[in-house]
Symmetry: D2
Subunit: 342 residues, 4 copies
């Protein structure tokens, strides 16, 4: 099979990562690459690590340029995908790496993004119960946010097994690439190195309703999420520390069993052996998620740690995993569980 | 006044930091410096940043060498302070930067350290209600652990004001200097850079009972603490994200008011203006703690973020602040709230 | 004495560093602080590490605001100092941390900066032969560039002693704060962490003529400088690796003797013991320079390594050191050789 | 083809990297993995990023264990390869990633390593003139050191074209993984982060004679090398700044032409477009080398910058590239020029 693929927003971090993975995907041919402010520039000047694509030139993001491909990845600012997507025909597989089509409740969208809701597409987290069926053959896919990917993988098995109360507390440490490539003072290397800091504290982060949506669907009841994201001095990686009060009668063995069962057949999720804790370096550049679980008997809480590469499993790798499913390819095609370490 | 000071364990990170601060303290004279495996070596070879002390030579840690000083700082491995301290006379101010004398409940000590409990000394966190009175004139001081310092400052005002439930959830990111200077594979720069990872998850960290002890004393009831420490790629700094369920009727204004009141007169604790979040870089090398509070209405939790430099306010700076109080010096002598940034 | 000091450009990295040091200087009182795009903002929002100045508000940079102080520090973009300085009276000590008044040859200025040359002021590198005399009582001081500070300290003793040929080869690694606080894509943390890269290769860096000027004056003949600056993943610090071919008859002992003699009485320059190599961490936040020398018999080159903190000894600390001399204060007032490590 | 491969020293950084690449190599099957102090442990505990190999167990390094494979990679401490290699039959392709068989002159070996010289094997830098012919069909390969790889690629074209004098000056910045995985105090993350420092200054680094050997062979005359390696705060990557005096009549166009010609057909070496400077992040995890050249007219020096990933092109990737040639496989099999950035 040779699938012809276009990428809109190819100069940013998400666009660059999807290109990095597509360059090694045996079933695709890379077609048009677009940007707006960078149109006319060579990829080699913008993404110097993508050597095989160095002489490709960015075009302007239009439906004409993107049309005529089998698959179009949209790596656009939140709120810009809908306008592009509706001009692409129903036969094109459109994979949105932005937030536009993730939320099911229009009220959530409007509260966090302040604009009309564009709709809801099949959700590209294949590990979530029922997700693969919705993705097979779909022509529209909403790729999850990076934090919701890490957090949903960490907590859905406990909710599916009825082990924890519906009040989750999550603190996540993220590398700075999650904040994008647009220069801002607080993202300067001088500010970031040697510093850890939170942002969007107190329920303000836009990924919060997406987590509640995913976990609530599995739990069968509303799940409140207290979510605090923090920036730490690394380019890539998310470490999510997730916990909730254990329900009565839960013990450590029940927790471990639930997670072993949930991920036994998952190609990209690895529950580490007992006693080994995840580190983001182990999944650098890979599509793997590493997890570990604990039961704190004294505090009566179940604690789950997950790590992913925010740009790979958290964005572009997850997008390609979902593309593979939609196209009927083996799910792991062009993706790896091997990280680049140290 | 000229106070003659000795430091035991001068080759490690805590010892080096106390020397850095003592070198700028106008009322002290630095006397004996000791180490064990490094005895006979020059400070310049071990702590090359301490230029004025470069030609000092480390002696062996014995009561003879340490005796005859007005103040002795102990920066020794946990469990080694008691033997040294009991040989130092009752007129010497002994300040232990290890864990030996922090806990009040012998059962806590034995559970986490596995040896007999040595006793309990006045606790060197002056901001804690009642602490200053206990420190004034004291000849023995137990310096708090770095995590308990960050966490206690973050949460005691909420407990003192009766705003939150006695189940605290804490996730803290720490720089690697908190793990000490003894070489271990997982602390290599190659492993640490680009990686975030947890450790001691599920109640296993030795600082957990110290947090419960501090917060419970203020709350007037037992406080359970779910504590997850993580290592992030920086040398110094702790970012503690602390939360608990709000009691009924609590709102954002009540939370802010409690913190403004608690820290109005504190020279080293700064509650940031609303909307500004703490960053560890801002307290790098300083004795300041920066805090911010939030009330998450949706999750009904009070969230408090604190940052400190683990070696300064979290260890050596806190030690000197307590020494100043014990000696009757102005509390801020030789200490600064100015961080080294960027 | 209480010297009243103003700082123009107080929101940037050089301005922040001079304020950090002034806040601990016992003889100064901090007066007006100015910025342009940031005028009206609180220092606490822009420089959160400067706690004691947090509630100060930036004013617009004008001669009216800056006038009426004993000392004015200019931390302005290159080319903007001259216009401000000429409006400040001859009784005000004006210390320019920009490049405007460093070069003696107008042709050098015009070639590298493309504008008319504003003049030449006494040069604020006290360790350079003859510099202190020119600074005493001066009302105008040009603070050296950060790279020229590191490189001149490294090589002038060898030129003064006639040990090396007049063709110096220099490669310097710098932390990113040297590139300033204006957000640019290549300075983002995501780009900087995990990456080392050169810039201004082949003679294009504006600090090159300043190095040639300093070294040529000491050598008594023109010195050509091949200078390659590189950015490495740290916020602060310069490591300069400097070498030149040894003249005939030179040996290792002669090299070491020249450096011991040159810096025997310098309060801020430390020639490390043989066998110990400098590290930028040792001078983090301090006004010290650490040096080491080697003679490579096989390649017949003298190699000198120097490290400084680019913002302290390389900019703001050097500026205050020169201010102290100009005002007749002890040269080390308010400055320290103690670094913040690890 | 299915080539059966063993790796001795599989718990270290070089061994881990060769396994990372072999795991994605379509023509190999991974056989025995050995270590000594780690024998009996699972790869998952030692190299958690190598998920597909997690349950493999390390065996002791013996000829019995390693025998019976088509290819054996030796990632052993310097001086230990010879004893193992001589027990492996002449039909086994032995690829030594240590230093034992790199040098041609026994005197060089003895001076820098202090033990008898074991011999000289075909040198695994395929880009060097004549190297591919020597590698084809060879059963023994000496993989170059990481610094010599970066430096030789940077300078051999200028020597081959007779453009520069035989006195090269090289300063290289390296990530810490080049120093290996054995814990040492100066390699701790706390020491490394925020710090740049040199080592082996003045001709003492063991990679110096290897550079002279490579460049002298191309130049047709002895080339002296002044080499200063430095450690900078990143895990991977080498940035080599290499220069030499230009011969009379050389100009910028001649320099560029020589490099364009030298690398026109090289699959892994990329001469960047004029005006673009290399960054180590662009080659992170890839087998590419990026180069840029400059001619400094004022200093009359040719300056060449090269970047590689020290573990990939500098060690394990170069080893596999050479293996491919020796086995008659396409040279790029299992290797990529795409880096992992940001």
């Amino acid at each position: 099979m040779s699938v012809r693929v276009a990428v809109a927003g190819a100069s940013g971090y998400a666009g660059g990562e999807v290109l990095r993975l597509l360059a090694g995907h045996p079933e695709v041919e890379i077609g048009a690459l677009t940007g707006n402010s960078n149109a006319g520039q060579r990829i080699g000047a913008l993404q110097p690590h993508l050597v095989p694509l160095a002489d490709r030139v960015l075009e302007v993001t239009t439906a004409e340029v993107l049309g005529g491909h089998d698959v179009v990845f949209l790596a656009l600012p939140h709120g810009e995908s809908a306008a592009v997507a509706e001009q692409l025909g129903p036969d094109v597989l459109v994979i949105d790496m932005g937030a536009d089509f993730r939320l099911t409740d229009p009220a959530d969208w409007e509260r966090f993004y302040g604009s009309p809701h564009a709709g809801t597409w099949p959700y590209g987290l294949p590990e979530l119960p029922g997700a693969r069926v919705a993705l097979e053959g779909s022509k529209r896919i909403a790729v999850p946010g990076c934090y919701p990917t890490a957090v949903t993988l960490a907590l859905f098995p406990a909710y599916a097994a009825g082990l924890i109360e519906p009040e989750a507390v999550i603190v996540a440490a993220s590398g700075t690439s999650g904040a994008g490539k647009t220069p801002k003072p607080h993202l300067l290397g001088s500010e970031v190195m040697g510093s850890a800091s939170p942002y969007g504290v107190g329920g303000g982060h836009r990924h919060t309703p997406e987590m509640s949506q995913n976990l609530g669907a599995v739990a069968g009841e509303p799940v409140s999420v207290s979510f605090t994201p923090t920036l730490v001095p690394m380019s890539r990686g998310i470490l999510a520390t997730c916990s909730a009060r254990a329900k009565d009668g839960v013990d450590a063995a029940a927790v471990r069993a639930a997670y072993e069962k949930a991920f036994a057949d998952e190609p990209f999720v690895r529950l580490l052996p007992e006693g080994q804790w995840p580190a983001t370096a182990s999944v650098h550049g890979s599509n793997a998620a590493h997890l570990q679980v604990a039961y704190d008997e004294s505090a009566r809480r179940v604690i789950v740690i997950s790590v992913i590469d925010n740009l790979t499993k958290g964005t572009a790798g997850g997008a390609i995993q979902s593309m593979n499913i939609a196209l009927g390819l083996p799910e792991t095609t062009g993706l790896s569980t091997v990280g680049i370490a140290p």
